[in-house]
């Protein structure tokens, strides 16, 4: 009897309790920030006069005049558009809203995603060698590219520059031809997205989509089918939404493709194909020894891995000349074994033994390591979000990200120059008591790449968003110090990197002051 009572109580109380635990832990939905629909606060009518990077001017590539609004051709296009809008399916509406977050915003996000997807170093083979990724066979093992930070910095720089030049050109023709939005030419068309006075020919979305895909196909050749699918979806979404007729899209696509081809011509001759010249390292090590690096860096991997892109420092920068790069090189790090060196090493030995949870958190937040979009990706995300929060137009967003992307590649180039000039050993090469909580980069220590990228990014973004300066500087400082907490950099690596980064960023700021967009 007693037992029965108990059984009843057990069933009545216990199982419901467990059930509630079960149901609450069943929710697997991950809350990602909703990008929302872009609502530019300005048309930036004068953007057709802004200074492009590669194009000689905004009419460098010709866009033919559109059919007149009164023409039968255009009226037929409007009629077809109306049918498309009226027949929109829920899944198409979802795509419309996705792309409405902003063309530059979305393609930047896609670029970051591809960087993360390709950011894994090759595995060593049975002979203890690391096979090189092969651009002609991008999906074989190892996949091409290994989208490490220098590679990603460059890929995102070209992406943003192509988008920007293409949009400057598009803005020129938009206001030259002044074709109104379809719903302003035909009131029967009920556009799904907010319509502004921005002329619709050529379509800014098609311009960005086609320019982006041209760059990304070259940078991530294994992703052609994925990119084609996204491209078609983006262009179609503008028609499903009633925002552009087909001839708007086609003119935009042609322009985007042509501009990106010009931009990618620079990529073919910027020195990247020679950035992994391992033959050069013997000479670099000899130089480093002659200037005081008594124990040069050696790979801490097993088997030893050739250092990452030792001649990336010779790649062509964006905001200054190649000759300027050595002049931006910081002074030498403390001599190995000096009192200054010992002080920095002691700090790391202390963290190695007593890393706090907060230090680990900072190190992890900024780790941006294997499988991530790297520090340049991290800052592109920040830049894209700031543009969105500030209701920037497509063309102003592209300008911001082009300034950001170019300064970050410049930062990568300068940092790599310093790294292979000084060839300075990592802390864990000096003491085996130092092991990392974030992963050990396979290249010399001085200066810190995170710090250089972050200094440059913060300098540029603080100029565009002055109200954010304090927060941006704090972010960059945290990114910088995170590498000490993660036990892979000395404090002097980080301080020199951060300072150098700010200096590099100021070149992009100089450009921004004179590009006509103020």
């Amino acid at each position: 009897m007693k037992n029965n009572n108990f059984k009843i109580a057990w069933k009545a109380l216990f199982f419901p309790a467990i059930l509630s635990v079960l149901t609450t832990s069943c929710n697997k939905t991950v809350d990602e920030p909703d990008a929302g629909i872009s609502s530019p606060s300005s048309l930036d009518e004068k953007a057709g006069t802004w200074k492009p990077y590669i194009l000689a001017s905004s009419d460098d590539i010709n866009v033919p005049a559109p059919e007149a609004a009164s023409s039968e051709y255009y009226k037929t296009e409007l009629k077809k558009l109306k049918e498309q809008v009226d027949a929109i399916a829920p899944v198409q509406r979802e795509k419309v809203n996705y792309w409405a977050a902003g063309a530059v915003y979305r393609w930047n996000e896609i670029g970051r995603e591809l960087a993360a997807r390709y950011n894994t170093p090759p595995a060593s083979n049975a002979d203890g060698k690391y096979p090189l990724p092969d651009a002609a066979n991008p999906l074989a093992d190892p996949k091409f590219p290994f989208a490490n930070p220098p590679y990603t910095a460059r890929a995102l720089a070209y992406l943003s520059v192509a988008q920007y030049d293409a949009l400057v050109s598009a803005w020129n023709y938009k206001f030259k031809y002044n074709r109104k939005a379809p719903s302003k030419n035909d009131e029967a068309i009920k556009s799904i997205l907010p319509v502004t006075d921005l002329p619709s020919y050529p379509s800014e979305d098609a311009v960005v989509a086609e320019a982006s895909v041209t760059v990304l196909k070259a940078m991530f050749p294994g992703e052609v089918p994925y990119l084609e699918e996204k491209l078609a979806e983006h262009k179609n979404s503008r028609m499903w939404a009633g925002m552009n007729v087909e001839s708007d899209i086609k003119a935009g696509a042609d322009l985007g493709k042509a501009v990106a081809a010009k931009v990618m011509a620079r990529a073919k001759t910027d020195g990247m194909s020679a950035a992994n010249n391992q033959a050069k390292t013997a000479e670099m090590i000899a130089t480093a020894k002659s200037i005081g690096t008594t124990v040069p860096w050696v790979s801490q991997e097993f088997p030893p891995r050739p250092p990452m892109l030792p001649t990336y420092g010779f790649v062509l920068p964006w905001n200054f000349s190649a000759e300027t790069v050595p002049t931006l090189r910081p002074g030498p790090p403390p001599a190995l074994g000096s009192a200054e060196f010992k002080k920095n090493m002691d700090e790391l030995l202390d963290i190695a033994a007593n890393q706090t949870r907060e230090q680990a958190r900072v190190a992890n937040f900024w780790s941006d390591g294997v499988g991530s979009y790297t520090p340049p990706g991290h800052w592109h995300r920040k830049g894209a979000n700031l543009c969105k929060e500030n209701n920037f137009s497509e063309v102003r967003t592209a300008r911001t990200l082009a300034l950001l992307g170019t300064t970050m590649q410049d930062a990568g180039i300068c940092c790599w120059d310093a790294k292979y000039y000084y060839y300075y050993p990592r802390p864990n090469q000096v003491s085996k008591r130092i092991k990392t909580s974030v992963g050990l980069p396979n290249f010399p220590s001085y200066t810190s790449g995170h710090s250089t990228f972050s200094g440059a990014a913060a300098e540029l973004l603080a100029y565009i968003f002055p109200n954010e300066k304090q927060a941006l500087d704090a972010m960059a400082a945290e990114a910088s110090v995170s590498r000490i907490y993660g036990l892979i950099h000395y404090r002097f690596d980080c301080e020199a990197g951060l300072e150098g980064g700010h200096k590099i960023g100021s070149f992009a700021v100089e450009r921004a002051k004179k590009d006509g967009a103020q």
């Binding site: 635990v21 079960l22 809350d31 995603e113 991997e301 390591g369 499988g371």
Partner: protein, 309 residues
Amino acid sequence: MLHRLQKRGNRLAALLAILCCTASQVFAQMPNDAIYMAKGTACLAVSYTHSSWDKYWENTLLRENLNIGTHTTHIVMPMLAVGIVKNLNVIVAMPYMRTETSAGNLRWQKGFQDASGWLKYRFLNKSGLSLNAIVGASLPVTNYVPDFMPMSIGMQCKTATGRLLASYRHKSGVYLTASGSYILRSKIRLDRDSYQSDGKLYNTNQVAVPNAYDAAARLGYLKHGLQAEGYVEHGACDGGDNIRRNDMPFPTNNMKSTSLGFYAKFQPKNLGINARAVYVLNGSNVGKSTTYSAGILYQFRYAKDKSKQ
């Protein structure tokens, strides 16, 4: 730039299977047997576990990693099993863990992991056959880093487990036990606000960790304070992705393993000892680990036995 964490095998799954999911298998009365503490009695046990691997499955590729060498996890776990009434036991446990590698540059991690609690209820007991319903839950007790795998000591999931267990024991002492469980695992939060899973980039710090299940069959002998048992166990996740080529494991991986285990206990009176060995035979996204553990048990009465008055 931090490149090169490509080393990070993973054995967390095996560990999880041993610890957090099927929980503490190291003891007398466990959440996966049909043995009950009598009403008013309890058993306190402390075990030490040494689990190591020098090969792991990266997706389905069994590989070594010279930047890890041998990965070892040390675990010390106190556990208490309490007989509430004849057919209901409560079991609680809390492991302290430390991870290390014999090569490479990855920093050790250590700390208390997840506290777990179990209720074991025998709803049928007839002619040697018993049917048992077991429910359990676990909660992380410290703020350890969940995604520094394979060095992390756990995944920060809250879990809830439902298990059915059937056992038949012959008069001779020979028994056969079969069990199956489903483990719900909560979302977790990372220190970083971006990660990649299954080719998609997530812009959030929240990670949906897949649920898991396991099944086990045990054949053993139990009589006069002596228990010996051999078992096969299979655990896997309900979905999940795989470790990318030459990348580190991640909490969303579908960690699968099939293992062979041996267990023995000798507890003639209040004091006893036990030992266990487990070998992972096959798997994916886990370490091919070998695990040994040993424990001491102390059984005591915490309430008067009224039946003897």
